[in-house]
Symmetry: C2
Subunit: 587 residues, 2 copies
């Protein structure tokens, strides 16, 4: 018996997630309340993002059931909530709309294939511990990508908002069609849509300050703000029913939905489909990874927890695999979903489990509630959500702090808007890497001299210092690598041209953390060329790891000068051969 | 008269290149000899590379006339010789062979279009001063690209060497076809080809040491080595004529060639063709740029001259534009061509002008000399040239010096071999950038303490130093940017976990040259999180340019600790609040 218990305990805890093993009964009431609240509050966005993805609205509800449970058991964040999210939805639409008619059976099957591929890829990122991939993108580039996508999302919803029929085409063609056909818009739809839009914008940006001015507590005002999207939906649906807007005035509505989960409309995608979906799935998985880890870390920091990025990816991947077999809609970690979850008082993923069960009840019993929900109002809620994703403050900050990052942000956003989401993200990665290359391509190099009477060395341009005629001390403030050698060679040539009497050049390597193969070969060339002109090349303050490499390179043996431990010993050594000149003390 | 002379002199010197304006009559004899020698010695490779490019052999001769003159007048190198080169030739073949039958009229027209586009692009690189583009690639990546291409070149020549008929297809299909059809090879061709191959290999790698062992001077032995390819061609052609090998034994030969320059078979390419050729031309222009600048710099260094990279590109671009309108074969700066030029005693580009005129005479009068030259022998000379391009020493050096560079080299070579030349170079650029990212992704961070009685601070792991309990001094030895923040955050979390009593963290920024937007934002997050745990964040020794930026960032105002000018002042400041602990002196 003892043996059996001894083995069962670790088995039990390895199968169940730690939060469940350690679950304390007293947190249950709070988790249950949070779960139920979250379900009700995320219904509008679940329906809306399914619409954005080109899927039947109820797919968004089903995507808030099983994937949520999968993530609760496998993910690492205690409060992150997965489900339909805006970026994943617009990417799904952008990938699949050229391949099939949005909402058709073929389209739904493709979406399921996309979710499956994307899930398997995210799982393998996690299993291969590639969470570090998220470092390929700088924050300004991620921000540019999200802002650009948000603008695309807004454009995609204008036709629903205005009640204009628009044939397929890219975002700009669609925008043009809405503008040119604006005269044919359905007045009732336009009225409902604009009213909902203004109401939602007001409740997001003005309601809290308005209510607190009236003496309502801030916490209560924020609850009002969160409930308002649901109120808007209820009011709009009531208006449709009361005035028979859908039948009498042709206002587009969600339409009758089969109750229940529907058949599992998944089929194993063929090789051709896999081929078409591979790159898009990779991009969605990659963006999902970046967004999820970034947001997960922020949430974990708020709760003083630490996020396991790779475990997080396994949770997200599993959620997508499960999504493929149920709703067929790729899911992600949602910013507003998680915020609602935390605000509603969720303590552990138990809240997500409760939320999933509640949503299951809604889907089984209540889909007829949504049949006469006007699409224009869903579109208005998408536009408001997308509007809040356009991060002007991040742009202003990057632009003021570091112009290159500002350009990278703008470039990525422009790439998304004009080249599409896939090429936009490729542009972003390239811009991240190129800014890195450009930043390091012009190393800071200072000519230094000794402050008389000390062992301190300073820039000759800023301080009056001792120098040795014919001996130049150059401090290189950057690692040397293929991208900044042109600048180094140019600087050395310029310094030599300035002083024809030069006999010694000392490179001070105190800030050089790496010398790559190209740089080592260039130093070999420089040493040889200088030797031929009668100039000795010395090195000083070479760091341990750099010295370890250079000692086994052709440079070490060929060096015409010496390797000095400190700048001062190099200075003393050369000063012994020459006369020291003292400059004026500037500071 | 005075005015007229005063204006005519600068006009004269601005139209003519400086070397011609300053030309001294006494260097003319050496330039004339060099020019004539070069013409005779480059005939074999000119024919061979035209064959490699899929063009009629005489195109290689014509490409050694007019482009050479254009380069002599516009280029910057005194001794670089342009003409048909191996890499450009194989790239031409790889780009055009899917579009038209090699050697056909359509193919020749496409090659001319490629040369024109490539020339215009190189010209614009030069005009836009983009010589710096060559920094996108590290030397190991360039070396991997050249070695991979050399292997492709060898594979492409096997069918000529063995006298096997092979239908089109990529390199690997062609290799497979040669191997499986080896039984059907033409015995006379195979015999001639292998004999030429062995002879050429021997003269390149063994002849000099063999001759010097016999007492011949080294200089003379090297002349023998350079003349030998021509001897092999003459002997092979004589053998074909003597034994009637082409007619009696079906040995493939160059065939009758129209004397003269032929019509200018150039036509302005249509938009469709331009579209197809655009990316390949860009890649050839880019590789030409990289190779030309790298080689030009090496040659200039040998002669103690300085290369103007952008002027070099203008010369190379003009040469290609001229090539488009004459031979239709893209040209480049040739390694062996330039070596022959220097060895033959060329002093100025006048040697190239003489060489071009000599080649013109050969083409006008002597093309029938090449009619019965066996293709197998040309193929053998290509294989030997390509073999010498495979740079095993560069690989060994990169591998031993820096494993990441070794992998980048191998990856690029594999990319070229298995994905083709275009994707190979894309792989190379990506590998260059990713090695840069990976290298900087794990910054070296040291915990430091003060050497008692001094103001010197050292790594606590290597030295016995004074430390302050609860205060951690971390020296970051790398610029902070989006790619290395995960490592920084991980390290900070680990250090905090080690010491629960911690109250102060001092980041020593003496080696931090830049803090990008992402890094600044992460520092803001870290500062906030630490403050919430009661840990103050201090900065010390922030460099001027970094401080200039950070002062206008949200970090500066929010910082929970202080900014110290030196590590020592930070130490003194914190020591005043606490007790200093002295460690053991290890060194």
């Amino acid at each position: 018996m003892l043996t059996s218990r001894a083995t069962s305990a670790p088995l039990f805890s390895s199968v169940l997630p730690p939060w469940l093993v350690q679950y304390r009964r007293d947190t249950l009431p709070r988790d249950v309340v949070a779960g139920v609240v979250v379900t009700i509050l995320v219904i509008p966005q679940s329906l809306a993002y399914a619409l954005l993805a080109g899927l039947p609205p109820q797919a968004g509800l089903v995507a808030s059931i099983f994937p949520v449970i999968a993530y609760a058991f496998l993910g690492s964040s205690m409060v992150q909530a997965v489900g339909p999210v805006a970026i994943t939805a617009i990417m799904t639409f952008s990938v699949l709309s050229p391949l099939a008619q949005a909402g058709s059976e073929a389209y739904i099957a493709l979406a399921a294939g996309l979710a499956l591929l994307c899930g398997l890829m995210t799982l393998s990122f996690g299993a291969l511990r590639l969470g570090v991939l998220s470092q390929l993108l700088s924050r300004p580039v991620v921000s540019g990508f999200i802002s650009g996508s948000a603008i695309l999302i807004i454009i995609s919803q204008l036709k629903f908002l205005a009640g204009v029929q628009v044939a397929g085409g890219n975002s700009w063609q669609s925008l043009l069609a809405v503008v040119t056909n604006a005269g044919q818009s359905n007045p009732a739809t336009l009225f409902l849509g604009l009213l909902a839009l203004v109401w939602l914008l007001w409740s997001r940006y003005r309601l809290v300050s308005w209510a607190t001015d009236l003496g309502v507590s801030k916490g209560r005002a924020e609850v009002w703000g969160r409930v308002m999207p649901l109120v808007v939906l209820v009011v709009a649906t009531t208006a449709v029913i009361a005035f028979d807007l859908d039948r009498a005035h042709h206002v587009a509505v969600v339409g009758e939905v089969q109750p229940g989960l529907g058949g599992v409309n998944f089929f194993v995608p063929g090789l051709d489909t896999l081929h078409q979906l591979f790159i898009p799935a990779l991009i969605i998985a990659f963006i999902g990874t970046v967004q999820n880890i970034t947001m997960g870390q922020a949430l974990a920091a708020k709760r003083r927890e630490r996020l396991d990025a790779n475990r997080e990816l396994i949770g997200l991947g599993a959620a997508n695999v499960v999504a493929a077999f149920s709703s067929g809609m790729p899911v992600g970690g949602g910013v507003s979903r998680s915020a609602i979850n935390m605000a509603a008082g969720a303590q552990t993923p138990m809240a997500s489990v409760v939320s999933a069960i509640t949503m299951l009840l809604v889907v089984l019993a209540g889909t007829h509630w949504f049949a006469r929900l006007p699409l224009a109002v869903l579109a208005a809620s998408i536009v408001v959500a997308a509007f809040s994703m356009i991060d002007v403050a991040a742009f202003r900050q990057a632009w003021n702090y570091d112009r290159a990052d500002g350009y990278a942000l703008l470039g990525t956003a422009a790439g998304v808007l004009f080249l599409g989401l896939e090429r936009g993200i490729a542009t972003g990665i390239l811009l991240s890497l190129v800014t890195l290359l450009v930043r390091t391509s012009t190393p800071h190099i200072a000519v230094i001299g000794r402050i008389a009477g000390t062992e301190h060395f300073r820039n000759v341009e800023r301080h009056g210092v001792e120098t040795i005629p014919g001996a130049l001390f150059l401090r290189i403030d950057e690692s040397l690598f293929f991208g900044n050698l042109n600048a180094l060679e140019g600087r050395l040539a310029a310094e030599i041209a300035k002083d024809p009497r030069m006999t010694d050049l000392v490179l001070i390597m105190s800030a050089v953390n790496r010398v790559d193969t190209t740089a080592m070969e260039v130093l070999v060339d420089v040493n040889r060329d200088f030797a031929a002109r009668g100039i000795r090349l010395h090195l000083a303050e070479v760091k341990g790891p750099v010295q370890d490499r250079l000692q086994h390179s052709p440079l070490w043996g060929a060096l015409s000068g010496k390797v000095h431990l400190s700048v001062n010993s190099a200075f003393e050594c050369l000063a012994a051969e020459k006369i020291v000149e003292t400059g004026l003390y500037v500071i």
